[in-house]
């Protein structure tokens, strides 16, 4: 029998010379991606894993069995009920935002499996598509069992099919990143920025915390997914190595754009999970510290390796590591009925921890929490709407997220007149991304425009119930119904 190394290169490198069709018909720029890279140059495309289908199936079979075995032992309701309910809200957030996004990533990978301009790239993308299918199936299967106990877990599947404000923002991001991108943009945005840079926060940071919290099922699921991510993330650097020799400006532009867009998603999902939904006695590192290790150190080194510059908004980004997820958290608490997971008011221990980890940002944020505590002190327990926002809020016309950038002293939102209409952006990077490709974004309606044109109700209760699709049993509430042992009620 031939040894693997004797035939492996033939399997991966099956590029054919097209003599019956034009190159542009075989790889239309609209589908393969516009670039100045000569066709022959793509044939240098390489990555380290060099896996074949037989090996792939063998490895994945073991991984699936391993997750199934853990689920059988730890996935029962009696085990989940033992886990701190605060943590489970992070799981509900994670599962909703990432599960069907993984499913959308199947499409992005399949586009590269057809239109990537080298056979090894196409080959690895096909495995990437199979990976992503598994990444959607695992959480769907695991979370499904919990729905009968807690209907909020239903949002693992329901989320992207709803008009919830976070789902609108999520779709805006996912549609562009995974469904619209050509294989070049997909490789840089998804495989390089998203998977090489940011997913370490999830798969290393959050996994470690899950183990500490005692959620070994979630930790196992993340670990299993991570091994796939490490492999197909290699598509990104392999594309960059070739593209950068011919069109460095394009690489830089895509890195700048997708770093910002990815950052906002991770700040909300991972930032809240680490700093708010991890019980304070289990928090070893803050989200900021994870960001410093994995992003400002490691990812920056990776950029240097390719002689790429830091994104142009780097100073603003560093400031937002301190503030953004805290601004979102305190805002979202006051609109918690618009989410499908529960919230809590940070305890005195929590607030002490935040003050230590975020000495610059926390004093301003803490004042807002103090006002919320003041409201609860004057409200009977469980009267949720008395301590809840009733005025509709603004959303960024690019990222579709709440206007929470900057600091409490100076919000960073920018209004810009475009074609005689005012558009609002949560930050300068979002404005610049919009201005660079207005044709991509101009027809998308944010929640405010949906309200103003009568598509969505302006009344917050009706908006939550009829437009965001949150039934009373699914709506986010205060985990303790406003009744905290440390909170003295006023008479």
């Amino acid at each position: 029998m031939l040894k693997r190394e004797k035939w492996q290169h033939l399997l991966r490198k099956l590029n054919w010379t097209a003599d019956q069709v034009e190159k542009n018909n075989l790889f239309p720029p609209a589908m393969s991606g516009e670039s100045t890279v000569p066709t022959a140059a793509w044939q240098a495309w390489d990555e380290a894993y060099r896996i074949n289908y037989h090996e792939y199936i063998q490895t994945q079979y073991k991984k699936v069995n391993s997750v199934n075995a853990v689920q059988e032992v730890l996935g029962q309701l009696k085990n989940i009920k033992k886990i701190d309910p605060t943590w489970l809200n992070g799981i509900k957030l994670y599962s909703a935002v990432f599960t069907l996004a993984e499913y959308a990533a199947v499409i992005g990978n399949l586009r590269a499996a057809r239109f990537g301009q080298d056979s090894a790239w196409r080959n690895l993308s096909l495995f990437g598509a199979l990976d992503e299918l598994r990444h959607a199936q695992i959480p769907l299967k695991i979370m499904h069992d919990f729905i009968r106990w807690d209907p909020q877990f239903d949002w693992t599947h329901k989320f992207y099919h709803s008009n919830n404000w976070i789902a609108i923002a999520g779709r805006h991001f996912i549609d562009e990143l995974l469904l619209l991108s050509d294989p070049i943009e997909f490789a840089i945005a998804t495989n390089f920025v998203f998977e090489t840079g940011f997913t370490n926060l999830q798969f290393v940071g959050l996994t470690a915390i899950a183990e500490l919290v005692g959620d070994n099922l979630f930790a196992k699921m993340l670990q299993s997914i991570q091994t796939d991510e490490m492999r197909h993330a290699q598509i990104g650097p392999a594309v960059i190595e070739i593209l950068i020799q011919h069109d460095k400006a394009k690489v830089q532009r895509l890195v700048d754009k997708w770093f910002w867009r990815s950052w906002q998603l991770f700040a909300i999902v991972t930032g809240l999970s680490i700093d708010y939904f991890t019980p304070v006695n289990k928090r070893q590192y803050s989200f900021k510290e994870f960001m410093q290790e994995w992003i400002t150190d490691q990812f920056l080194n990776t950029l240097k390796q390719y002689q790429l510059e830091k994104p142009w908004y780097w100073d603003f980004f560093l400031q937002s590591i301190d503030h953004y997820h805290h601004m979102v958290a305190v805002s979202a608490y006051t609109y918690r009925a618009s989410t499908w997971f529960n919230w809590h008011v940070p305890s005195p221990e929590d607030r002490q921890w935040y003050a230590k980890k975020y000495p610059n940002a926390w004093p301003g944020i803490d004042k807002i929490w103090q006002q919320i505590i003041h409201s609860w002190q004057e409200t009977p327990p469980g009267v949720e709407w008395s301590v809840h926002g009733t005025t509709p809020i603004g959303f960024c016309n690019l990222c579709q997220l709440v206007l929470c950038h900057g600091t409490p002293a100076q919000n960073a939102a920018i209004v810009k007149k475009i074609n005689d209409h005012n558009y609002i952006f949560c930050s300068e990077p979002c404005l610049k991304i919009y201005e660079a490709e207005p044709e991509r974004y101009q027809d998308h309606k944010d929640v405010v425009h949906r309200i103003l044109c009568g598509e969505a109700p302006g009344n917050v209760v009706a908006l939550v119930e009829n437009y965001f699709g949150l039934m009373a049993s699914e709506r986010g509430r205060d985990l303790h119904l406003g009744q905290y042992s440390w909170m003295e009620k006023r008479k």
């Binding site: 006051t334 301003g364 409201s375 005012n422 609002i424």
Partner: protein
């Protein structure tokens, strides 16, 4: 005097987000300030001595939205004078 509804984005110093405020063209700026403070009171207590800024300028509390030439979907900031 016209009575047209105007959606604007309101930002209050000390708050964490921007809200959508529906105001009327014949509302006085004083009324807009009160509405904005009411909209965010769950996060920021109403304070005296704050001014409403539009495009970098303080708006006189006695004039109307119409007189202030406030545009739909503009940014209004309620903050202390620096």
């Amino acid at each position: 005097m016209s009575h047209q509804m105007l959606p604007v984005y309101g930002f209050v110093e000390g708050d964490a987000l921007g809200v959508l405020l529906l105001i009327y063209s014949d509302d006085t700026i004083e009324k807009v300030i009160q509405n904005l403070q009411q909209a965010v009171k769950i996060r920021v207590p109403a304070q005296i001595g704050m001014s409403l800024f539009y495009e970098g300028k303080i708006l006189d509390t006695q004039i109307t939205v119409n007189q202030a030439d406030v545009e739909p979907l503009c940014r209004l900031d309620l903050r202390h004078q620096k």
